[in-house]
Symmetry: C2
Subunit: 411 residues, 2 copies
């Protein structure tokens, strides 16, 4: 058989994903499988069973990252790696993360059953705590493994109930022996749902991210003056929530105002005292700005500062803006990105070049190894919700692109 | 002595208020004395001791309302009554409510020590749970006494921890024997801080409320679409919080748009899932509209409905508006209101006619008896906060107006 005719088993990928979706299944049809929870452990155990069934060499490192290794003919060469994460958002979906792990598993199964000879070793990986919704920060497993985060600092991160990553790794039996320390990687591929509506809108099966946008997070604190609503005339009020409302609309208008590709969002707001008959005295809200274009984001930040201060002055409600996180945009490896596009074309899948608006383990990986991602469409662009969905044929298409990316790199 | 020369003892009123402010004192200089708490009990015990010291006949009714009665020469005539409430907001101030009780006490002390002969009996009253911040609804004691609320329904109202009014009345020993059932009242006066900035702005010592504004409460529920912020372009988002922000600014603009005397406020907002990197999917916020002019408020409600629906349609975020409470404006007794103004003038205090933007026990009382209120200035217009303050000389002025209102009515 010409290796170019090799395809994954779409039915098997589907049933594997369906089996995984039983672990932490929610009544709304989604998955609740928080990092290092009992559900995460169950899913990990199942993954390891499946890895062993196809005779991969399994290792768990001290961050709980799980690796499955297929030896290569030249086994000392840096491996080709592929994977993603098993953990989900609270009441999240059945595809985010897990598709990248089950996709790589399906590729490994296909390679195994067809007795393909690979020159380089091939590895599948499940990274611990990508979502960051139980333990902040996100991408903790890949962060430590790539040397971007400290292991002991990561161990000490606590969830809402005060449980630490280190303790929870031990509790579920996934604090492994291997060092969480990177080794040379020849190429890293991550298959993932788009989590946006673009592929669906343009009607393409495969998305080829050029990289990951730059992200900035801000906390905004507004100081108004709480007072009884009834006896306090409109004139002379210092209503922190009205101030925030103006700022929220300014954030929303920012991308159009700046031009270029940018999203800006207020996702979180806290109002104090938050009482029906008291004028809001203090408001805290967050701003998230993402763009591929870092200088444009610099200018947007300046616009926001100026605009917020104008509102603060006009309303006599002082505002403090704290920048709490900033990552520049992350371009993926040009050669691998091109390769993804070529393979999609060879397989007859219409593809589309875009950028990833969300962070992934590939963010850290791209800083230490040639990296590319493969996106498949999200129905309605929805993700991090129970209705998150992707057509099975699109999962299969993504798996086939991943298969040939891995084969070409490992050849 | 000409009775018109009689004055209360301002120093004594001050020290009485200061003594009361020790009960539930907060580090920020305010008072935390929630209805039926241990602090409320302490303050009640002290009040009763003071009432007994001036030989008033003390009674506690089944709602915990405390009455102190000074007999009149024609003791069968309906009494003149005056009072307010001892309970405070959480971390509230040292004047709201308690000034009306201590003011009436000071009047009683002045009448007692000057051996004034009153034709009608005179009664002081402390109403249970006026604030409504521990147990909803507000004005529960006066509500039951005036027959506007059911006793057993009121008994069953629960605080945040599930404790009921009935149980807590028993616990602190203030479930009295007397029926909480109104008797004929000749005149009811309530001395209170303004809780707004108007008297301070116009530089007057005494405020003469014509009555209490009408109040309407609404709950607004917005349905957007939650999604990951990064991969979701601005175009096509259904951001429930941006929708809410537009509506909040519309509420703020409403009074100017409608003309007339009106306040409109969004005090409370709940955003879901309220996560930094998820587009808000659902928002619930409250609207409070107050005006003396009920037909104007009807029209304002219509404007809001129309405006909100426009925003909802434009953003494709359906909005549901529920009206949860409505009270028409409450005019006070014309004769008594005029009397308050005349007495203030006779005493040489500059006075100002206004309306009360907040509810008071006087709201219920005015539905069963001729009623008037006397306002004194709030420094900076602040109330329901620890920095709530009123000048001692203004407290004294209010006390003197109350004294002569009571004397004239009880003469």
């Amino acid at each position: 058989m010409d290796i170019r005719d090799l395809r994954i088993n779409g039915e098997r990928l589907k049933s594997t994903l369906e089996r995984m979706a039983e672990i932490g299944r929610t009544s709304g049809g989604g998955v609740h499988r928080l990092a290092l929870s009992d559900e995460d452990k169950q899913a990990r155990d199942l993954l390891i069973k499946w890895l062993q069934e196809i005779e991969l060499e399994v290792a768990v490192d001290e961050m709980g990252n799980i690796f499955g290794r297929r030896a290569g003919k030249k086994d000392n060469l840096p491996p080709v790696m592929s994977g993603s994460h098993i953990d989900s958002q609270p009441k999240g979906g059945r595809f985010d993360g897990i598709l990248g792990v089950m996709g790589a598993l399906e590729v490994m199964r296909t390679i195994q059953e067809n007795q393909i000879e690979n020159t380089r070793p091939i590895m599948i990986v499940d990274w611990t705590n990508e979502e960051g919704s139980r333990f902040s920060p996100a991408m903790a497993g890949s962060g430590v493994w790539t040397g971007k985060l400290e292991r002991d600092w990561a161990y000490a991160r606590k969830d809402f109930h005060g449980k630490k990553i280190g303790e929870e790794l031990e509790r579920i039996g996934y604090k492994g022996q291997a060092l969480a320390k990177r080794w040379p990687v020849y190429a890293y591929f991550e298959l993932h749902i788009e989590q946006g509506p673009i592929l669906e809108r343009v009607g393409k099966k495969i998305g080829i991210p050029q990289g990951i946008v730059g992200i900035r997070w801000y906390d905004v604190f507004i100081e108004g003056k709480a007072n009884q609503v009834g006896p306090t005339p409109m004139e002379g009020r210092n209503d922190a929530l009205c101030s925030a409302a103006e700022m929220i609309l300014q954030v929303e208008a920012l991308p159009a105002q700046m031009g270029g590709n940018m999203v800006a969002t207020v996702g979180e707001i806290h109002n104090d005292p938050n009482s029906r008959n008291i004028i809001p005295g203090q408001v805290h809200f967050t701003v998230d700005i993402r763009s591929w274009d870092d200088p444009l984001t610099d200018r947007a930040e300046g616009e926001l500062q100026t605009g917020f201060q104008k509102i603060a002055t006009k309303r006599n409600c002082p505002a403090r803006i704290e920048k709490i996180w900033k990552v520049e945009h992350t371009p993926f490896d040009e050669f691998l990105v091109t390769q993804v596009g070529k393979i999609a074309a060879q397989l007859g899948y219409p593809s589309y070049s875009l950028v990833s608006g969300a962070g992934h383990d590939a963010t850290y990986m791209s800083q230490v190894a040639p990296t590319a991602m493969i996106f498949v469409p999200s129905i309605g662009g929805r993700s991090h919700v129970e209705v998150e969905n992707t057509r099975w044929e699109d999962c299969e298409a993504g798996g086939n692109v991943l298969l040939h990316c891995i084969l070409q790199s490992a050849r």
